[in-house]
Amino acid sequence: MESGSVTYNEYGALVMTTGGSRANIPSYGKRQGWRPKTAEDYGDGGAYPEINILQYPLDLGRKKQGTSNALAIQVDGEGKIKYDAIARQGQAAGRIVHTSFSDLIPLRQRANIGEINLARPSEEEVALTTAKTKAAFDNILNGKADAANAKSITNSKTSEPTFIRYTPSSMMGDKAGGQRIIKMVDLPEDPMAPPKFKHTKVPRGPPSPPAPLLRSPPRKLTVKDQEDFAIPPSVSKWKNAKGYTIALDKRLAADGRGLQDVEISDNFAKLSEALYAADRHAREEVKQRALLQQRLADEEKERKEEHLRELARKVREERGEPRRRQRTVSPDEPRGRTMARGRSISRTPSGSGSRSGSYSSYDSRSRSGSYSRTPPNRRRSYSRSASRSRSGSYSRSPSRSLSGSRSRSRSYSRSPSRTPSRSLSRSRSRSRSLSVDARPSKFRRID
């Protein structure tokens, strides 16, 4: 019997038999010790009940294993298990994932690296890449329908009827007909009909598996780190809605006082020391200047007294001769106020040769004689000047001779001459203060 025969069974259906294995199946009653091993051993029928083994004809009745998502263990060419399959799961073929420790080692120190080629790809490759990318971009950009392009929304191609020429096959007996033309038309769509389908949002699929982290794990926090970065809770200095009573240190915790080291600059101390020093220095200078002025004044006084003595001597000499003429002394400016006394003395034509101690006699004499003779702009209130009390120390201190006469009188003359009524002390102090500004620089060093 041939291996495959085409026969009709009792219903007229076509039956193809694989005769070879059919012959191997023992008939009923003769199946002791025989086991169906392949699917063909079941023939047309099902399991053999007299054979006491599990039989799955046509694989029916087998308990299927539930499909699981677990990744099967894969082995690479050398026979080692690919443990990084889980990191590469579900990713595109071109994806490069670094998973092993050797990816951490610098390239030139890896063991089996061979020759490293760092040259850029050639221009042809670059041109290929560019062309490929450009084509991909064009696809994307053309595919994206422009909202402004209204024409693309209606595609007229599907609305037109299409015609199909259909030639039925002559398989079924003699029913082969001629060719037919079939017209396919789109079902007209009601433009006012509401949408048929609801847009439902599909949840996003799982992301690609995370890349293995090829770095050492982050260092553990030390207590010191935690303390450094501890932020106290913020407690407002202004608002306290619930009226809590909070300790002062908590109120000020966010102030940042403990974090700053308040450093007082050294310059404060330096400033106060400098002020003290300057003060002391100034006082010294003032004292020195006072001494100097005093010396000058003493010398001036000496000179003037000398001058007076001279005058007196002259007068005495004159008086010794017969009194021929009266001496008029022109009151000259440089002599100043101290000369006023001398003037008054010289003007009196009285016969007394000696100076009287009291001023009142001078006073009367000056008033009587010389006042009317002095020009009006030169008249001074002699009364006041004469009755001035000697508050200063010009007479008391021993007169000293000065080498250079920095004439006090000059400063006296600088003061307005209209007011000779000022007391000597006041004028002295004023002139002293005036000369403070005009002091020479070489006296600064005295300390």
Binding site: L104, I105, L107, R108, R110, A111, L118, A119, T133, R215
Partner: protein, 484 residues
């Protein structure tokens, strides 16, 4: 002490010198040739291993259960000869006769030992058989252990002249955040926190033009080499295309959801890539102003973007410490590099080599393209937040820090040869020391840095420096095991 031990000791002492200077002075002996390796290991293992193989003393073997023939066979098999062990690792030695024929190789020692050791005679024959059968009987793991020593020798870094300040340009009223040099090297543009873009003449440093239009800091600038356009990106989510013939904005690219921090142009396609605070890089078609791709994947702000013509065409560095290499045609990530521990703020590609570097506060790392293999760290470290990186065609890389420190590295070896602190303009606060952006000009002879004291500084190499007068930071090779 045997002769082998003495030789070992001498070798250890001379190893350092040989590794450093061997290639320079042409020591012809290559101790890494397989045959010499084999001799070395065989002799070493024989000296040490055979002692470990010592027989147990007789009074103990008497106490052991009597071993059957099968177990004895196993014991003998376990005490494999050194040669058989080494066959797994090294290429097998050539047959005994052939060795003698080559006078240059000192391999007679091997054959002599084999003859005197009687127990190995049969093993020698086995060895020959095994050689015939197997061509390369090596397992890569074991081979790796041995070959690793060959790669420890290091290259001495090339000397570079130190860089010094040449010119200070002040004119901006805010931090200068971005810079770009024109392809013809005539002028450069800077964008600042005063929301203007100023164009300066490169040769003289004088201001040529001020462009206003942004309403927040201008963070990215790029001049197109193929069109008369200047592209600018700002923190106000705007990406503008300025026509340089009319000095006005002609296009806006709308779509960013947050400030744009980085911008770059593709060298061959008419496409620009921008990225910013929303964590995605957007690829725009220049002419039609449409987004071609949205490259998403980063989980933090993207601080820098670089475009190149070869795959991977887009590199991004982000504040989630990742560097991603993108396949631009598909719009997908090709590789993720997770080696950095702190945010990656700067990226730079080498003009001629197919490598790039990424800078973050912990390290500056150099990578090989296209697969993103880690090449080395730049050391000694620049201990600052690295805001910007730029590379020269001479192999000088500059890194500018957030605290005003600058470091210059040799690209090939990763050695830092100079570290400088910028001098802020007089009257600046101490907090105004910082470098935000930098670039070399098209020739690579001038470095332009944009700083936090609102000035632009131009640096150049010291022309009178020589390797003797300015050796730079000393380089010491580190031999032996290093921790990764």
């Amino acid at each position: 002490m045997t002769a082998i031990d003495e030789v070992d000791q001498l070798e250890r002492l001379n190893k350092r010198g040989r590794d450093l200077f061997g290639k320079t002075y042409g020591f012809s002996v290559d101790y890494n040739e397989p045959i010499s390796q084999r001799i070395r290991y065989t002799s070493k293992l024989r000296t040490e291993y055979t002692a470990a193989q010592a027989q147990l003393p007789p009074h103990i073997t008497a106490k052991l259960p009597p071993s059957t023939s099968a177990s004895r066979k196993k014991e003998d098999a376990a005490r494999k000869d050194v040669d058989a062990l080494l066959n797994d690792i090294l290429p097998p030695p050539p047959p005994a006769g052939s060795l003698l024929a080559k006078p240059s190789l000192d391999s007679t020692a091997l054959t002599v030992r084999q003859e005197t050791d009687t127990s190995t005679k049969s093993n020698d024959q086995q060895l020959m058989l095994r050689q015939q059968r197997q061509q390369q009987p090596q397992s890569s793991a074991a081979r790796a252990l041995i070959e690793r020593q060959a790669n420890v020798a290091q290259v001495r870094p090339e000397w570079h002249a130190p860089w010094k300040l040449m010119r200070v340009i002040s004119g901006h009223l805010g931090w200068v955040r971005s810079v770009c040099v024109e392809p013809d090297n005539q002028w450069f543009a800077t964008g600042a926190g005063d929301r203007t873009i100023k164009i300066w003449d490169l040769a003289s440093g004088t201001l040529k033009l001020t462009l206003t239009g942004h309403i927040m800091t201008v963070r990215g600038l790029a001049v197109s080499p193929r069109h008369p356009y200047l592209f600018s990106a700002g923190e106000d989510k705007m990406v503008k295309c300025w026509d340089l013939e009319q000095n006005k904005v002609i296009r806006h690219y709308h779509g960013h959801l947050s400030g744009v921090y980085a911008l770059d142009l593709h060298p061959s396609l008419d496409v620009l890539v921008t990225a910013g605070r929303d964590g995605v890089a957007r690829v725009w078609d220049m002419r039609s102003r449409r987004e071609v791709h949205i490259l998403s994947g980063h989980k933090g702000t993207i601080s820098s973007v670089k475009c190149q013509a070869e795959d991977p065409q887009v590199l991004t560095g982000s504040m989630d410490t990742q560097v991603r290499l993108w396949d631009l045609a598909a719009g997908k990530t090709q590789t993720v590099l997770t080696h950095h521990k702190k945010s990656v703020r700067a990226l730079t590609t080498h003009p001629t080599e197919f490598t790039f570097a990424s800078g973050s506060a912990d390290n500056i790392k150099q990578w090989k393209l296209p697969e993103g293999g880690f090449m080395h760290n730049f050391s000694p470290q620049h201990n600052a937040i690295v805001n910007t990186l730029s590379t020269n065609s001479d192999g000088v890389m500059f890194s500018g820090g957030d605290n005003g420190t600058m470091a210059f590295f040799d690209w090939k070896t990763g050695h830092k040869f100079q570290e400088v602190e910028t001098a802020a303009m007089p009257g600046s606060l101490e907090a105004e020391n910082g470098i935000f952006a930098s670039t070399f000009d098209q020739t690579g002879l001038r470095l332009i840095t944009c700083e936090a004291d609102k000035s632009i500084k131009i640096w150049r190499e010291d022309p009178e420096a020589t390797p003797e007068t300015h050796p730079g930071i000393e380089w010491r090779p580190t031999l032996g095991r290093r921790r990764f």
